[in-house]
């Protein structure tokens, strides 16, 4: 169940968590993971995305969750974190 807590800080910064890593620079080649969450036709969308990303000189790593109903397994997350600079997740139906 979601829990609501009260902010213990002086609220000088946004409530959201900071990004774990630095943003990618558009001109620097990167390794980008495309995560298929296993919704129907998500692969079609990701195939097109892969073509566009590769055209721009980036390396693509295709990953997939076993099922969209559950969070990605730890090893999938670990592989993306270890090998990739960014991840694009296909969320929608």
């Amino acid at each position: 169940m979601a829990v609501t807590i009260l902010d213990p800080t002086a609220e000088a910064a946004p409530a959201g968590r900071p990004l774990a890593g630095e943003r990618l620079r558009p001109d620097a080649p990167a390794t980008i993971a495309l995560l298929d969450i296993r919704k129907p036709r998500g692969d079609v969308f990701l195939d097109e995305l892969e073509r566009l990303v590769a055209e721009r000189g980036h390396t693509v790593l295709r990953e997939a969750k076993p099922t969209f109903t559950k969070p990605a397994p730890a090893d999938v997350r670990a592989e993306i974190a270890e090998r990739c600079d960014a991840v694009i997740e296909a969320l929608a139906d």
């Binding site: 979601a2 829990v3 807590i5 009260l6 800080t9 002086a10 609220e11 000088a12 968590r17 969070p71």
Partner: protein, 491 residues
Amino acid sequence: MELVALVKHDCPVCDQVLPVLDRARADGAPIRIVSQSSAAETAAQATRLSLAQAPELDPELELSIRFDPDAVPAVVLLERGDERARVEGLDRVRLSELAAQAGVALELDGLPERRPGCASITRDPLVAARLGARAARESGRLRAREVEIGELEDPIEALFDRGFSDGLPLVPPTPERVVEMLDTTSRHAQDLVGVIPPYDGEATVEKVAINAVMAGCPPDAFPIVLAAVEAACDPAFALLGLVSTTHPSGPLIVVSGPLAEAVGMNSAGNVLGQGNRANATIGRALQLVVRNVGGGRPQEEDRAAHGQPGKLSACFAERREDSPWEGLAQELGVPEGETGVTLMAAEGPRLIVDQLARTPEELCASLAAGLEWVGHRKLRLAFDALLVVGPEHGRIFRDAGWDRPRVRQELFERSCAPAGELARGAGGIAEGIEQQWVTDPAAPVPKFAAPERILLAYAGGDAGLFSMVYGGWVAGEIGSEPVTRSVEPWR
């Protein structure tokens, strides 16, 4: 005139009264039947009792809060929206009379004459807490930003991830817990307690309460936390410097007075150690305020080279039983009978053993030798100290009738040392007083700037001929001065 009946699904008395009310309503009587339970529970009850119509729902408990019954069933007689009378529980005679005023005849035959009802759902502690938190938000008592922790997040891990923790798990500061904390002080939640360095965050009573919840503070100890935060913000305490120094000191809180015992603080065995919730969490709450409201974080704004365990929490109570003196806070101006906090910028405590002294003179000679090593024996006038006299040492002073000024004066004099021993290079130690200041090698140089710069507290277990010494940070006007505050204004 109309009747409003509040019921809930798991109340046997409601089960008895509901069918009667339901039949009257089906016959056209002006009765609203409202359930405090969920839709599913209410529907199941209606099916079980074969009601003609399921009760209305009160999902936000608005009606329940408005009528605020102790027990259900609660049947309320309304005239143009205003309450005229009510019956809580089952009382056949009174219920019949009440219904008659609305022109309703209830068929109560076969029911018991009287039966107390069941507690209204608004009396459920968890529900009451939720409603209290909602009311606090609506009234402006709670103004802190709400942070949602997602369903897939562990709340404890989420608090670590968001950087709120000192390294130990935190209690999630839910609005309900924060309101419980706020309820222990008469002060308004938006009153300003102090401005916290290094980033000048405003510590309102509410923000302090949030951090006190996270620290695990018992709510009745909250006024002590507030007084400690107020004391820490006194400019004389120099909290900004203390937070950002390379020295290991942190704020040490000494609590003197009856409230310490009332909230369960330890002043006896293992007084400076683990195992007591209030001791462990009052100091932690102050440190979390510094971290979260002020923004002082280790290796960032906090430049301590080593730090010390007391920077997680450093707080203890003075022992009142068999004390040779009045409390430290009382000596520093808090009226007798009130509770006060004294804050000192202190490093970790260290033991001074003397198992053979039997006179106050012998004991002071030993304790003074221990005090000389605060910071470094050859550094003089730079540091204050707090001596925590244990009961077996305190007894010697008590039996001799030595009051605080007498003990302090003796310690001050006995911690003097000949200038020649303290000069740079003396004893093969580079550290020390510059040679130009040593005109007479035999001249005594005090360790402390004045006798008053040696604070005395009384605490510890019955057995053990020990005292403990806390060394201070840069002392006096150029550094941090001890600050005392009464807890009374925060109760």
